[in-house]
C-alpha cells in the first residue's frame, strides 16, 4: 500500500487516497499535529519566550523553543515573536540569510494550537487566524534573504506550512522526523497557505494524497517527493549526547546551505524526475485537471459517504487556487477553514483527539516493578497478536501453547507481522530478526518463574481459564500479574480460584491486535492499584490506547455491542437483506457493515456472547432471536474463518456474495417488520440508539469512569463512527432529548430493549447537562 513512486495518474492517486482515508483516520489520530497547551500568563509577559536568534557570520540562526513543553506549537505568541524576529532580520544589513531550527530534539513544530481554534466562537474568528498566518507566511515566501528550514522531529500541520514557505528545507533522516498535514483528521484543512503551496511543490496528485489522508511522511520519502531538499543523517555518540549533536550538525549543514543560497552558489530549484515532469506537464492541460478533480472527488465521496466535509472542501480550495489564482485560493482556504472549524464533525474529531491523549496516560502512576519478562498463554490469533506488539517494543516474551502445531502457527503469525513491516520498509530485515529473537516459543512453563506478567489468551471457557490460572500460579513469582484476555467472561469469576486475586486483571485486546489500537483493561473490586498500573504500563508500551473499566458482564465494549447485535438479528429477521443492512450501517459512518461485522467477529463468538450477556441482562438484551446464530453455527456458517457466514468468502475474491444457504434459515425465523419503525433512518437509529443507550448506562453504573473513555472505546474498539465522536459526544451534539424521543418510539414498538436509561433521561430533561462541558 505504500506509495513509493511519484503518482502517474490521477485515478491511481485517488484510489490510494480513498483506501487510506478510513484506515488513517483511526491509525494516525494520535499522531496528529495539533497540540493543546495553555501557556501561563507570566510566560506571555516575557519577551521572546518561544523564539530567539543569534548571528553566525552573516547567517541568522532562529531557534524555536517553547518553554515548559516537549513540543513547539504554533500559537499566537510564537507567531508574533516570529514576525518580530523576521522583521529584525530583514532590517539588518549584516544578515544575508537565515536558518530556522528547533532546539527541541524530536520536534520542529508539531502543529497549531488546537485550543486556539477551540476558543473561537465564530467562523470569522477562525478565518482571521488563518489570514494572519497566511500573510506572515507569504512575506516569508517572498523573502529576498533566503531562509532554510532545518527540520528534525515532527513537522506537522502549521509547522509544515511554515517550512514550505521557506526557500529551502533540510531534514534529519530519522524515524522521529515526519512531515504531514494531518488537519483532515481533525475535520479541518491546512489553513496557513498549505493548500496553495503544496500542489505547487509536490504536484497536485501528491498534494491531494497528503492533505486528504493526513498521513505522516518520513524524511527520505519527503526528499523523493520534493518536500525537502536535503537530508542529514542522525549522528551517534560523540562529544555530546547524540540528539544534541545531531541538531547542532543539522544547524551547521543548514548554515552552509543558507550561505550557498545567499551567494547564489546553490539553487533552491530542484531537479525533477521524468515522471514528475510528465505529471506536471499533464496538469497544465485543463481537461486533465478536471479529470483529476473529478476522480479524487468521486473516491472521497465513496469513502466518506459524505459524512466528512473536510476532504471535499480541501479539494475545492485546491481547485480554486489552481483555476482562479492564488488570491482566490488563499481567500477560499481561510474561509473554508473557518467554516470547517465550526462543524460538528470537526468538534467530534477534536474530542476524540483529546480523549486519545487522555487514554495514552497511566492514571495509576508508575508500577512498583517494570514488566520486563512477559509470558503469554495460548498462541492463537490473539495470543500471537499480543506477542507481536510486545516483542516489537523490546519485551522479552514467552509464548506458550499446548501443541507444537498451535505454537508454530502463532510463531509464524508474529514473524509474518514483522516481515510485513520489512516489506513496507518500516523495519530492516535485521531489525526484524533481532525483534523476533525476543520471542521464545514453548510448550511448558519453563522460565515462568521469571515472568513479571502473564497474559492468558486461551479459549473462552471458564473452566479452562481456571485450570491455567491455577497451573500458572504454581510457577510464577509473587509479584507476577495475571491478566486475562477475554471479551466477555467476568474477571472476578476467573479470579475466584486465585490465591492472589489482587494480582488478577482483565486485558481485553481487539483483533487483529497489531492493527487495533484499543486495549480495554478490566479491574475487579480486588484488583490492586499497582496491578492496574502494571497493566496500563504494559499496554502503553505496546502502543495501545487504553480505557480502564470496572468488571461486569461484557465489561464496556462487548456490552455496548450486544444490544446492537441483537437488533441486527431482529432487523435481518424482519427481512432486511444483509447487504442492505451493511450499506445502512456504513452510510451512517461505521467502517464495517453490521452483518459483515458478525462474520468478522465469528458467528460462534457472537452466539457465545449473546448467550452469556442474555443470561446476565435478560429481556433488555432480547430483540432478535439468538436461534439464528445457533442455526448458523450448527450449519458451520461461522463467518469469515469458516469461509461462510452471511456472505461467502473465497481466497482472492474481492467482491463477496451473499450465502444463499442462509435464505432458508432466515425464512424459518422471519418476523413481520413494523412499518412505523422500519424506514432506513429508523433502522440506522435502532442500531445506534441501542448502542448509545447501553454506553450511557455503563457510565451510569460506574463501569465507565469517564465519557471520554467511553467514546474512545467505542470508536477505536468497535468502529463507532468517528465523525460522531463516540456515543457520548454524539449525545451532546445530536441532543439527548432527540435521542430519548427516538428511543421511546422504538420502546413503544418493541419494549424494554429501548427504554432510555436514567442518565440519558436526566440529560434530556436538563438541556444544559452535557457529557463534555
Amino acid at each position: 500500500m505504500e506509495f513509493h513512486d511519484p503518482p502517474i495518474s490521477a485515478s491511481q492517486s485517488a484510489g490510494i487516497i480513498g483506501k487510506l482515508f478510513c484506515k488513517f483516520i483511526l491509525k494516525y489520530l494520535f499522531l496528529i499535529g495539533y497540540i493543546c497547551r495553555n501557556f501561563t500568563e507570566s510566560s506571555a509577559l516575557l519577551t521572546r519566550t518561544h523564539i530567539n536568534y543569534g548571528v553566525k557570520g552573516d547567517v541568522a540562526v532562529i531557534r524555536i523553543n517553547s518553554p515548559n513543553s516537549k513540543v513547539n506549537t504554533l500559537n499566537k505568541e510564537l507567531h508574533s515573536e516570529f514576525i518580530e524576529v523576521m522583521n529584525e532580520i530583514w532590517a539588518s544589513d549584516q544578515i544575508r540569510s537565515a536558518v530556522l531550527i528547533s532546539s527541541k530534539p524530536g520536534c520542529f513544530i508539531a502543529g497549531a494550537d488546537i485550543n486556539m481554534l477551540a476558543a473561537c466562537k465564530t467562523p470569522q474568528e477562525v478565518t482571521q487566524i488563518s489570514q494572519e498566518a497566511q500573510r506572515t507566511f507569504e512575506k516569508l515566501e517572498k523573502s529576498t534573504k533566503p531562509v532554510v528550514a532545518a527540520i528534525s522531529g515532527s513537522c506537522l500541520g502549521g509547522g509544515l506550512e511554515l517550512a514550505v514557505s521557506c526557500q529551502y528545507r533540510i531534514a534529519t533522516k530519522d524515524r522521529k522526523t515526519v512531515l504531514g498535514t494531518p488537519e483532515v483528521l481533525l475535520g479541518i484543512l491546512p489553513g496557513a497557505g498549505g493548500t496553495q503551496r503544496l500542489p505547487k511543490m509536490v504536484g497536485v496528485p501528491a498534494a491531494f494524497d497528503m492533505m486528504l489522508t493526513g498521513r505522516n511522511i518520513r524524511a527520505d520519502r519527503a526528499k523523493k517527493m520534493g518536500l525537502v531538499d536535503q537530508l542529514v543523517e542522525p549522528l551517534g555518540p560523540g562529544l555530546k549526547p547524540p540528539e544534541e549533536r545531531t541538531i547542532e550538525y543539522l544547524e551547521e549543514v543548514a548554515i552552509t546551505f543558507a550561505k550557498g543560497l545567499a551567494d547564489k552558489k546553490i539553487s533552491p530549484k530542484r531537479d525533477k524526475g521524468l515522471v514528475e515532469k510528465l505529471t506536471a506537464y499533464a496538469m497544465t492541460i485543463p481537461f486533465v485537471r478536471q479529470q483529476v478533480y473529478k476522480k479524487v472527488e468521486e473516491k472521497v465521496r465513496k469513502q466518506t459517504k459524505g459524512l466528512y466535509p473536510a476532504p471535499l472542501k480541501i479539494i475545492d480550495v485546491v481547485k480554486t487556487g489552481i483555476e482562479q489564482g492564488s488570491d482566490a485560493g488563499y481567500l477560499s482556504e481561510s474561509q473554508k477553514f473557518g467554516e470547517l472549524a465550526m462543524t460538528k464533525e470537526s468538534k467530534a474529531l477534536m474530542g476524540l483527539y483529546h480523549g486519545q491523549v487522555l487514554c495514552k496516560k497511566n492514571k495509576f502512576g508508575a508500577p512498583q516493578k517494570d514488566v520486563k519478562h512477559l509470558a503469554i498463554l495460548g498462541a492463537g490469533l490473539m495470543g500471537a497478536g499480543i506477542a507481536q506488539v510486545s516483542v516489537d517494543k523490546g519485551l522479552k516474551t514467552l509464548l506458550k501453547d499446548a501443541t507444537l502445531t498451535g505454537l508454530g502457527r502463532g510463531q509464524q503469525q508474529v514473524f509474518k507481522g514483522l516481515n510485513d513491516k520489512v516489506k513496507k520498509k518500516a523495519l530492516t530485515s535485521f531489525e526484524r530478526d533481532s525483534i523476533f529473537s525476543n520471542l521464545t516459543g514453548q510448550l511448558d512453563y519453563q522460565g515462568f518463574e521469571k515472568a513479571d506478567m502473564v497474559i492468558e489468551a486461551v479459549f473462552e471457557d471458564l473452566s479452562l481459564k481456571h485450570r491455567v490460572l491455577k497451573e500458572v500460579e504454581a510457577v510464577i513469582p509473587d509479584h507476577c500479574v495475571f491478566a486475562s484476555n477475554t471479551s466477555a467472561l467476568p474477571i472476578s469469576e476467573i479470579a475466584a480460584v486465585s490465591k492472589r486475586p489482587e494480582k488478577v486483571i482483565g486485558m481485553h485486546y481487539f483483533s487483529p491486535v497489531d492493527k487495533m489500537q484499543l486495549l480495554e483493561i478490566i479491574t475487579t473490586e480486588k484488583t490492586s492499584k499497582d496491578t492496574s498500573a502494571s497493566a496500563v504500563a504494559v499496554g502503553l508500551k505496546q502502543g495501545k490506547v487504553i480505557i480502564v473499566v470496572k468488571d461486569g458482564p461484557g465489561f464496556y465494549t462487548t456490552r455496548c455491542l450486544a444490544p446492537m447485535m441483537s437488533e441486527v438479528i431482529r432487523i435481518l429477521q424482519e427481512g432486511v437483506d444483509p447487504k442492505k443492512l451493511d450499506s445502512l450501517t456504513t452510510s451512517f459512518g461505521f467502517p464495517v457493515g453490521a452483518a459483515t461485522l458478525v462474520d468478522e467477529v465469528g458467528v460462534d463468538v457472537a452466539k457465545h456472547v449473546a448467550e452469556d450477556l442474555g443470561k446476565a441482562f435478560g429481556e433488555r438484551f432480547g430483540g432478535g432471536n439468538p436461534e439464528l446464530l445457533t442455526q448458523m453455527v450448527s450449519k458451520g456458517f461461522l463467518g469469515r474463518k469458516s469461509g461462510k457466514g452471511f456472505y461467502i468468502y473465497q481466497e482472492g475474491v474481492k467482491n463477496k456474495n451473499l450465502n444463499s444457504d442462509m435464505d432458508s434459515i432466515l425464512a424459518s425465523l422471519k418476523i413481520p417488520p413494523k412499518s412505523e419503525v422500519s424506514s432506513d433512518e429508523d433502522i440506522q437509529f435502532r442500531l445506534v440508539t441501542s448502542f448509545v443507550n447501553e454506553a450511557v448506562m455503563c457510565l451510569q453504573e460506574g463501569i465507565l469512569a469517564t465519557p471520554a473513555e467511553g467514546d474512545i472505546g467505542a470508536v477505536f474498539g468497535l468502529g463507532f463512527p468517528p465523525c460522531l465522536g463516540g456515543p457520548f459526544c454524539f449525545v451532546d451534539l445530536y441532543g439527548a432529548q432527540k435521542l430519548v424521543d427516538r428511543l421511546k418510539k422504538y420502546e413503544a414498538a418493541y419494549g424494554k430493549q429501548f427504554t432510555p436509561c436514567q442518565l440519558l433521561a436526566d440529560h434530556a430533561n436538563s438541556p444544559n447537562k452535557k457529557f463534555y462541558q
Partner: protein, 441 residues
C-alpha cells in the same frame, strides 16, 4: 633505549608459567591499488608470494611449521580455505594443516592471536600467520533467482522438465549480485558511517585532509629511506617485479580540498583522498615459542604480548574499536599510555582516526560510553604511525594486521623503544589491540 626502559611501569610483560611467544620475522608483498599489477591473479597467488617471501627471509625449514593460519575478508569461492591452497602452492609440507579465519579488517590479527593461542596452550611450537585480500577480483554472483533456476536445471532429468525450468526464466534474473560493501546489520557503507562518525566528533574536512597528508608524507619518507623492510619483491607472472607499495601519493591540501565528498553528498567530509583505498596484497609472519626460536638459532624481532578484542554498536560506533580496546589492553598488561613507544593504529579513514583521538581525549565519552571515570588520553602524535599507515600504504582487509605488528616491531628496533601498541577497528563494530614488546638486542 636503556634510559627509556628505566622509566617503564614494567620491565617486561613476561608472565611466569606462560610461554613467551615471539615473532621471528614477518613480510608482506607490496600493497597495490586494486586493479593494478595483481589484477589478473587469484588471492592464493598473492598469499603464496607472501609465504615464499617469508620462507626466503627466515629460511625456516618447512617441516618444522606446525600450523598455518590466514585471514581474509572477501572470499574467493574456489579457494575458500585460501591458507591451505597458498601453503601447498608455496611448497609447504602437505602434512602441515592450514585454516582461514575472517573478522573483517582484523582478520590477520585474528590469525596471529589464534596462532598465539595454539602456541601458548602447547599445541604448536611454530605457526605461520598471515592474511590476504585481492580486491581486483571479487566474487560477483548470479541473483538468487538465477541461481535457483540453474540448480533446478541441474536436477531436471528430461527435456520436458528442462524446458519447464527454462520457461521460468525472466530477464531480471540476470541482474548480478555484488558482494556487500555495506554493514549487513545496518545496510550502511563503512564510508558513510565514517562520515557520520567524523561529524559526531566534529572532525572537520581540513583536519581530515591534513591527517591524510601526514600519512602519505610519512609513508613516502619511510619508503624513500628504506624503512619498509617487511616488503618483499614479487615477480608477478607476465609482468615486471613489483618492489614497492604504489598507493603512496603525497598531494597538497589545495588539491585535496577540490575533491567532492565520496559518501554523504553534497556536504560530507570523507573523500577519496582521506580514506584508505581498495588494495591488493598479502602478509605473513613466523611466530614461535621463544625457546623453540632460540633453539633453532633465531634472533626474534619481538614478543607478542597481551591482546584484546572488543565490540560495540555497529551503527554509530562502527569504527571506534581502538578507543575501546586501547585502555583495556593497557590495563590487562599493567602499562600506561606513557609506556608505549610506538603506536601503530589501522587508518581506515582520516575521520575515523581523528574521531578515535577525540573520543580518547574526552572525559564525557569515557564516562558516558566506556564506563570509565576519566579519559584514556591521546597517543602522542610523534609516536603514532610514523612510517605511514593504511591511508597511504594501503589496506588489503585480510592482511593489514600483520603489517601493523611488523611496523611496530621494526619501529621499536629502529627507534629504540620497548613497547608497541597495535590497534584496529573492523566492520561489525569490532576492534582489536595488542602489545608488542621489542626483543632485547
Amino acid at each position: 633505549w636503556h634510559h627509556s626502559v628505566q622509566t617503564k611501569t614494567k620491565k617486561t610483560l613476561a608472565k611466569p608459567n606462560i610461554r613467551n611467544i615471539v615473532v621471528v620475522d614477518g613480510v608482506r608483498t607490496p600493497f597495490l591499488l586494486s586493479g593494478t599489477s595483481y589484477k589478473d591473479l587469484m588471492p592464493h597467488d598473492v598469499a603464496r608470494a607472501a609465504l615464499t617471501g617469508l620462507l626466503h627471509r627466515t629460511s625456516v625449514p618447512k617441516e618444522v611449521v606446525d600450523y598455518i593460519i590466514f585471514g581474509t575478508v572477501i572470499q574467493e569461492v574456489k579457494t575458500s580455505n585460501v591458507a591451505r591452497e597458498a601453503a601447498l602452492g608455496a611448497g609447504f609440507s602437505d602434512k602441515t594443516p592450514a585454516h582461514t579465519v575472517t573478522m573483517a579488517c582484523i582478520s590477520a590479527n585474528q590469525a596471529m592471536t589464534t596462532g598465539v593461542g595454539l602456541i601458548a596452550s602447547g599445541q604448536c611450537d611454530v605457526v605461520v600467520a598471515g592474511g590476504v585480500e585481492l580486491m581486483s577480483d571479487i566474487p560477483i554472483r548470479h541473483s538468487r533467482k538465477m541461481r535457483k533456476l540453474m540448480l533446478d536445471l541441474n536436477k531436471a532429468k528430461s527435456v520436458g522438465q528442462r524446458l519447464s525450468v527454462i520457461s521460468k526464466f525472466r530477464l531480471n534474473f540476470l541482474a548480478p549480485e555484488l558482494p556487500a560493501v555495506a554493514e549487513f546489520s545496518t545496510s550502511e557503507t563503512m564510508g558513510h558511517s565514517a562520515d557520520r562518525l567524523a561529524a559526531a566528533f566534529a572532525v572537520s574536512r581540513l583536519e581530515q585532509d591534513e591527517y591524510a597528508l601526514r600519512s602519505h608524507s610519512l609513508a613516502k619518507k619511510a619508503q624513500d629511506e628504506g624503512l619498509l623492510s617487511d616488503v618483499v619483491p614479487f615477480k608477478v607472472p607476465g609482468k615486471d617485479t613489483v618492489t614497492k607499495d604504489n598507493g603512496i601519493r603525497p598531494s597538497s591540501l589545495e588539491q585535496m580540498a577540490k575533491l567532492k565528498p565520496a559518501f554523504i553528498r553534497p556536504y560530507g567530509t570523507v573523500t577519496a583522498a582521506n580514506s584508505s583505498f581498495l588494495t591488493d596484497g598479502a602478509s605473513a609472519m613466523l611466530i614461535m615459542a621463544e625457546e623453540k626460536a632460540l633453539a633453532m638459532g633465531y634472533k626474534p624481532k619481538a614478543y607478542l604480548r597481551d591482546f584484546m578484542y572488543v565490540s560495540q554498536d555497529p551503527k554509530d560506533q562502527l569504527l571506534l574499536g581502538p578507543t575501546y580496546a586501547t585502555p583495556k589492553v593497557l590495563e590487562k598488561a599493567g602499562l600506561t599510555m606513557n609506556d608505549i613507544d610506538a603506536f601503530e593504529f589501522h587508518e581506515a579513514f582520516s575521520g575515523q582516526i581523528l574521531a578515535n583521538f577525540k573520543a580518547m581525549d574526552s572525559d564525557w565519552f569515557a564516562q558516558n560510553y566506556m564506563g570509565r571515570k576519566t579519559k584514556i588520553g591521546l597517543p602522542p602524535l610523534e609516536k603514532f604511525n610514523n612510517w605511514g599507515g593504511s591511508l597511504s600504504l594501503g589496506h588489503p582487509f585480510g592482511a593489514t594486521g600483520c603489517r601493523l605488528v611488523m611496523a611496530a616491531a621494526n619501529r621499536l628496533r629502529k627507534e629504540g623503544g620497548q613497547y608497541g601498541l597495535v590497534a584496529a577497528c573492523a566492520a561489525g563494530g569490532q576492534g582489536h589491540a595488542m602489545i608488542v614488546e621489542a626483543y632485547p638486542k
